[in-house]
């Protein structure tokens, strides 16, 4: 099966979700661990205003780096993220239709919704939903948000996350992520990212300056608090995302003990909560 190229998958998803009424956004320009951290999801999930958006978000998981040697693991990969608020009645059908657009027909493939409750301790967020399975493979995560930043949502959102590399490996029948056809004209995923995986793995595990990272974490925390005093929810939230990524880097460097770990997560959650509260306050008084 010569399925769509990596970039063609993205284009098809953009086209599909655009037709469902989503705002097509570009990636957020701050390093983050998952597409959920994008303010278009975290903050927009709160408050009473309807919202629908889709975007690709580069996601950084410093501990998942394998120097480009593991066929499935990357420290930097792409998530395709969809959020619709309130959750549409046809959310499941839309989702299945999107897979049809990618060449996965549910009359030929075995699609399943398997219980998977989502929780993000750093965002103080949770929701209920499923892993979406295609022929036994998780091809997406479907969540109905119930709480974000410790705040119960007014209108529950439908959130869908596609792991683009994994999905592409499936539709292209490729066993090694670096062998993915990126553009349909001879450029592979490895051509684009293999060197980055090697260098960032070395950075994440060996060379990142931990004293500096710890200092930057404190800076971000302080800046976040200062901006919140000015009721600037969005710039404050940028600092929260930065703090979260700095924590992930420190974690990858192995300098955080078990008890410190819980404390760091608690500090990021406190920032997220305060940012979300500031966002909601701003939404209520336009």
């Amino acid at each position: 099966m010569a399925g769509p190229s990596f970039q063609d998958l993205i284009l098809r998803l953009h086209d599909f979700w655009s037709r469902q009424g989503c705002v097509i956004l570009q990636p957020y320009d701050v390093e983050m661990g998952a597409g959920t951290f994008h303010p278009a999801t975290t903050l927009r999930a709160l408050g009473p205003r309807p919202w629908a958006a889709a975007y690709v978000q580069p996601s950084r998981r410093p501990s998942d780096g394998r120097y480009g040697e593991n066929p499935n693991r990357l420290q930097h990969y792409y998530q395709y993220q969809v959020i619709m608020k309130p959750s549409p009645e046809a959310a499941q059908d839309m989702l299945l239709a999107s897979y049809r657009e990618l060449g996965l027909d549910p009359r030929r493939h075995d699609f399943r919704f398997v219980e998977d409750d989502w929780e993000s301790p750093t965002l103080g967020a949770w929701g209920l939903g499923w892993e979406v399975w295609c022929d036994g493979m998780e091809v997406g995560q479907f969540t109905y948000f119930q709480q974000v930043g410790g705040i119960p949502v007014v209108l529950p959102s439908f959130e869908m996350t596609y792991g683009l590399e994994r999905l592409a490996m499936y539709v292209q029948d490729v066993e090694r992520v670096f062998d993915l056809d990126f553009n349909g004209r001879g450029v592979t995923y490895g051509d684009v990212f293999l060197r980055a995986e090697r260098e960032y793995s070395a950075h994440n595990f060996e060379h990142a300056d931990t004293a500096m990272l710890a200092r930057h974490f404190q800076d971000a925390e302080a800046e976040c608090a200062a901006l919140l005093r000015e009721k600037l929810a969005l710039p404050a939230y940028d600092q929260c995302i930065k703090a979260s990524h700095l924590f992930n880097l420190l974690d990858a460097r192995g300098v955080i003990s078990v008890s410190e770990r819980a404390a760091y997560i608690g500090r990021v959650r406190a920032l997220a909560k305060a940012c979300c509260e500031a966002w909601v306050a701003g939404e209520e008084t336009p």
């Binding site: 959750s87 030929r108 036994g136």
Partner: protein, 685 residues
């Protein structure tokens, strides 16, 4: 009687919640409609629906109800108040024994009205383990979005909706439309009742009954395996879950890449089960097969090629992950993981896993010495048995703890006995797992459990009622099964004492007795569950707590086998007669434990019983000392004929006071002798 049919159709319900949801629906509906006397309640459950059918009365018939009001002599305000409350008039009242009584006739209430009134509230309060909101601002929560409510009484729609004040209840209202398979038969169809619903669903690729889906899966997977001369590894929990993930089960077989067949079979099975819900297969010789079985939820248009290829591919990725851990873990020796365990908390008050391993090591050495196993090897195994908790594989699959430790120990070049002891040290974890019987492995497994029991008892974390968060009952039962099924002779008191030493000042002196009593109680519960004479065990325990469970059970067995004979029954009858008389007379002027005066024994049967009692008084303790419980019971059995003759001839409560006292003393001596073997008063039946 009319048939009530309800279907609640929505987005995928977690497999583990489906059966409970259907049971809750039956329970709540039966209670809410109790006036309609529901009977023959049946339920169905599956990925997208729970449903119920029941026979109910067509109506609650008309009735009259009398309401007693104020006294006839009461002031008129009181009477008016009563009338206002019930919306009645003065002429509706009659007088009955000084009180005003209002006779009210209640009209018949039709079933449909009662159902329509009860259901919205029932659904809004439905006790799903976890519920969620969706869509708009409605506060009506369900396990996942609820899309359709079907409610029919003999085929006719029972109309209600889920609105409540301002809350639009997702716009849900009862209807008569259901849906079949999501992909194979999309769209709605009208429902007229339970039986046609089941048949219409079948035409639309949905097997409504979970039991039938399970049979289809079990048989289908079994046949596919058999065609390849393979057998399915029995896994009832997995079968239940898979039946909750499919509406139209289509069993299929996939191939495992030869490159992964050298992984430990336990690793392959757990990865398949936990991550993929695949069934593991075995060859005739019991080794892992290079095939796996799984169940699709669709009849594919290409005969299943894409689905099988997809699942095989996913499994390759899973096994590649497993191989990563397997290779990586074996680069670090278990012994080198011990420092890591020092920073892993076992329990806030009981210290680290490292400290736990050191305690288990010491205790395993002590137990091994008592069991005649190699104490050094036991200590080694104890020290290493928690090492795999720091491995990548156990981090990924906690259920492989112990098993991986065994593999890693063997790889590190530890003695085979040490590797086996590590592998089995958690056993038995449930009724289906055998306890380790080899003394070295048994010593480590016992040390693990006894350390846990003593530790948690020392900090007061004892099981209460249904609450047993640290699985202490299971640990105690594990101890019992290891000793019992291995026939291992071990005095538990000194071992528990040694375990308590491991906790130093944390363990109070009483903890040994507490844990021993706890284990004895679990033994009694276990015997009762087996249908064995748990009352005999209680009786034997009443004669004194024995810390050697095998000896305790031998004694119980000896007593039980004699009691099963006619002689035993009569002996017990004699004992009871003696004990009853003593109880009554002791209440008057007891106790009667003075020495028996032979010169006062006038009757022949008195003298015979006295001689028999004196003989038993020597023979029973002698036999008990030799742990010859059958002998002790035989000595007691000698009392039976003299006791019978005594009660036939002798009137205990003789008018002459000293004769009475002497006879009571004789009976007391018989009872005391028998109580040395078991407290026979605790025997039931």
């Amino acid at each position: 009687m009319p048939e009530l049919f309800i279907e609640l159709f929505g987005e995928e319900i977690p497999a583990r919640m489906q059966a409970g949801g259907a049971a809750d629906l039956a329970r709540l509906l039966t209670a809410a409609l109790a006036d309609l006397k529901p009977s023959g309640v049946r339920t169905w459950y599956g990925p997208r629906r729970i449903a119920l059918a029941a026979s109910i009365a067509a109506e609650v018939p008309a009735s009259t109800q009398s309401e007693r009001g104020p006294r006839a002599s009461a002031p008129s305000q009181a009477v008016e108040g009563f009338l206002r409350k019930h919306g009645a008039a003065r002429e509706d009242l009659r007088e009955e024994s000084g009180f005003l009584v209002l006779a009210r006739s209640l009209p018949a209430r039709p079933a449909a009205a009662l159902i329509a009134a009860a259901l919205p509230d029932l659904l809004r309060r439905f006790p799903w383990p976890k519920s969620m909101r969706w869509g708009g601002s409605s506060q009506f929560v369900w396990v996942r979005p609820l899309r359709r409510i079907t409610c029919l009484l003999d085929g006719a729609l029972v109309a209600f909706d889920m609105r409540q004040g301002e809350d639009e209840g997702h716009g849900l209202a009862s209807g008569n439309v259901s849906e079949g398979h999501r992909f194979l038969a999309p769209g709605g169809f009208p429902v007229t009742g339970a039986a046609p619903w089941v048949e219409e669903l079948r035409k639309r690729f949905v097997i409504a009954d979970a039991g039938e889906r399970k049979r289809i899966i079990k048989d289908g997977v079994g046949e596919l395996a058999a065609a390849e001369n393979l057998a399915v590894v029995d896994d009832p929990g997995l079968l239940d879950e898979v039946a909750g993930l499919v509406e139209w089960p289509v069993p299929m077989l996939g191939r495992i890449d030869a490159a992964y067949m050298d992984l430990p079979p336990e690793v392959m099975q757990v990865s398949m089960r936990v991550n993929q819900r695949y069934f593991a297969l075995r060859r005739a010789d019991g080794t892992a097969a290079d095939r796996f079985a799984f169940v699709a939820n669709v009849v594919p248009d290409d005969g299943g090629k894409a689905i099988v290829a997809g699942n095989e591919r996913v499994l390759r990725a899973r096994f590649a992950d497993a191989r990563h851990f397997w290779d990586l873990d074996r680069r670090t020796k278990l012994a080198d993981r011990l420092p890591t365990l020092d920073s892993v908390t076992f329990h806030a008050r009981l210290g680290s896993q490292g400290a736990r391993a050191r305690r288990i090591a010491a205790l395993a050495g002590t137990i091994a010495a008592a069991l005649g196993a190699d104490a050094n090897l036991a200590r080694r195994a104890g020290l290493l048995c928690k090492g795999d908790l720091a491995s990548g594989m156990v981090g990924e699959f906690p259920e492989l703890q112990g098993v991986m430790g065994g593999y890693y120990a063997a790889h590190d070049g530890e003695a085979p006995g040490v590797a086996a002891a590590i592998r089995f040290h958690y056993a038995p974890r449930g009724p289906n797992e055998a306890p380790p019987t080899e003394p070295l492995a048994a010593a480590v497994a016992l040390a693990d459990k006894l350390d846990t029991l003593v530790g948690f008892f020392a900090v007061g974390e004892k099981p209460s009622g249904a609450g047993d968060p640290f699985a202490l009952r299971r640990a105690a039962l594990g101890v019992i099964r290891i000793l019992r099924e291995g026939g291992l002779r071990l005095a538990l008191c000194p071992i528990l004492g040694a375990a308590a030493t491991g906790y130093a000042e944390l363990a109070s002196p009483g903890v040994v007795e507490e844990v021993l009593a706890f284990i004895a109680e679990r033994l009694r519960v276990q015997l009762r569950a087996e249908g064995a004479r748990h009352d005999v065990l209680a009786a034997v325990l009443g004669a004194g707590l024995d810390d050697d469970l095998v000896r305790l059970l031998a004694r119980t067995e000896a007593v039980a086998s004699v009691l099963a004979t006619e002689e035993g029954t009569n002996l017990l009858a004699g004992y009871r007669r003696a004990a009853n008389i003593l109880r009554i007379e002791e209440a008057k002027d007891g106790p009667h434990d003075e020495a028996v005066a032979s010169h006062l024994l006038h009757l022949a049967s008195e003298q015979v019983l006295d001689r028999a009692a004196a003989a038993a008084r020597v023979a029973v303790p002698a036999a008990l000392t030799e742990q010859n419980f059958t002998g002790a019971m035989a000595a007691l059995a000698e009392l039976r004929a003299p006791l019978d003759a005594f009660f036939a001839e002798v009137m205990v409560n003789d008018p002459v006071p000293e004769l009475r006292r002497n006879r009571l003393a004789l009976l007391a001596r018989v009872r005391a002798t028998m109580n040395q073997v078991a407290e026979f008063s605790r025997i039931e039946g």
